[in-house]
Amino acid sequence: MKLIRKRRNGYALLLAASICLTVWLGKAFMLEAVFAFGATSLISLLLLVRQNRLLYAARLICDNPILAVPSALISMPGRQMKKDTEETVVSTFGILIGSKIYRWGLDGVHGVRLSAVQIDKERMYLTFGDASKTMRVELLHGMPGKQAILDAAQKLLCETGVTAKIIN
């Protein structure tokens, strides 16, 4: 989340600077430069809006944590990639892996939704997606006992409506 915030602040600064430059150059009638910095302002505005949305989603995820773990393995049909990060948060509304966000349950019945959860002694498998794409995240959950696993499953059911399958 820190990274997302940093990026957001960077884009905000870029926007402010490019607007100032556009105005200043506009006063000096340097039209080419005005167009260039005008375009920069527009692009940085779009990036800022996008980053703001990401930050909002990240905050939402951090506000509603179900589980925080040290690492995650993300798999998609056809390719696999591993990501070890300092911050992985599983929440009611998605998963935050470092600065990467996978959202679910944010756009009602038509958006990305969490479809299945499996938990074994060491790992948790979360499957989510929409009609066009499905993804699977594998986590080393680090929960010490069965009770902790049951508690997490209960919380998942309450918050997301998905019943976790617990594998012994």
Partner: protein, 470 residues
Amino acid sequence: MNRFKTLNARRLSVAGFSFLFAYILSFQFEGQVLYSLLNLRGTDANPYIMTAIVAHFMGLFTCGLFVKSQTVAKNMMLGAMGLCLAATIPFFFPPSSLWLVGLIVSGYFSGCAVAAWGFFLRAYTPKNEYIKSCADVLIYSNLLMIAVNVVAMNRSTFIGLGFSMLCLVIGMVFIWMLPLEQENEQNKAFKNKTHGGIKTPLILLCLFVFIITINSGLMYEVINPAFEHLTRLVSWYWAVPYIVALAIMRNLPMKAKRSRILYMGMAMIIGAFISFMLLGRNTSDYLIVDTLMLGACGIFDLFWWSILGEMLDYSDNPAQTFGIGLSANVFGVLCGGVLGMTLTSIGLPSAEVAVIALTVVCLTLVMLPPLNRQLVLLLKNHTYLTAYDNMNQSRQRDIVCQIKTLDPLTPREQEVLQLILSGKSNREIAGALFISESTVKTHVRNIFSKYDVGSRAELISTLLKNQRVE
């Protein structure tokens, strides 16, 4: 016996208000008597008319600040009507500064008296019969106004003024005879359960009323001067279509769709402006234009008066709610009048003025159906939430379970929904569940999506359709 008492009190209340309103319509608020007096003395009417309207607006708007009980409302009505009576006396004499003072005093206090009547409208009108009470006062006051106008325009302006004052005296007698009713505690508690207040529906209603009455203001300034030469006919026929429309609306069955009537009114008002542009300026043309225009005004007026009446059931201070609602009407008339005056003062040919007026009318009328929809949804929401709160918990749970969703709600969403149905705001829900407000907003959005609705009001409306509220 109790029912008979209420019926009697209702009649007294309607009679008292009708006479007060007849005075306002015939004299104080752009009344024919006032216009005739100003014309007779050769005085510029605009400053007097505008002063009276602004003072009336102020009276309506501020009355709720100091009238907070039925006893005070009754005293206010009697005192205000007495002051109006005194402030009208200078009009029997040549123009002086007392005329302006008189209009300010009578304008302000007649506004207060009208707003204070909100207490009696609520107390003596059975549920779902606001449309009848409102229609009655509008019909009777307009009939009285016609009588005063006919006398003022065909006999003597001063006799007309005397009749206006007589209306005020008779109104005072009826209000004086009006019994005071002690509201029981249970009823009071029910009314006070306002679920975030009726602020939003009231603001929406005010916008609705404002838009409707801009058209009335335009009509006063654009259409009326064109038929000034038909003095005799105008003196009695002017408000007849209005009264007929009110009488028809009053006797419509309860299940009649109000939105269809609203569309009919819109068609009539547009028809009136088009006829005004295409037809001439003789008697039959006047009959067509006035029938369409005033008929539409009757439909619109009763429409919003009855909604305002229904709102009183959920108001802590009926004088305030009633006064603010009516002040939106006065403000609309004022703005429409200024707009009309600006249009006519530019010196454009009358056909062009009519086209511009028609354009303004069409633009404002386009906004009415969506506003009406929102207003109805908000009122349903309000009615339902109050009924929901009075149910026991198992029945509340049943309601939520009975309605089909596109996707099952999660346990957390069910908790949020229960709190929405208890009338809690997002902030209150966040506090109750110890979660952030943005989390609540996301849950609420998801709930809307699962019920396939677009707003809280629509969600409540869906519940209302599926569940018979007892």
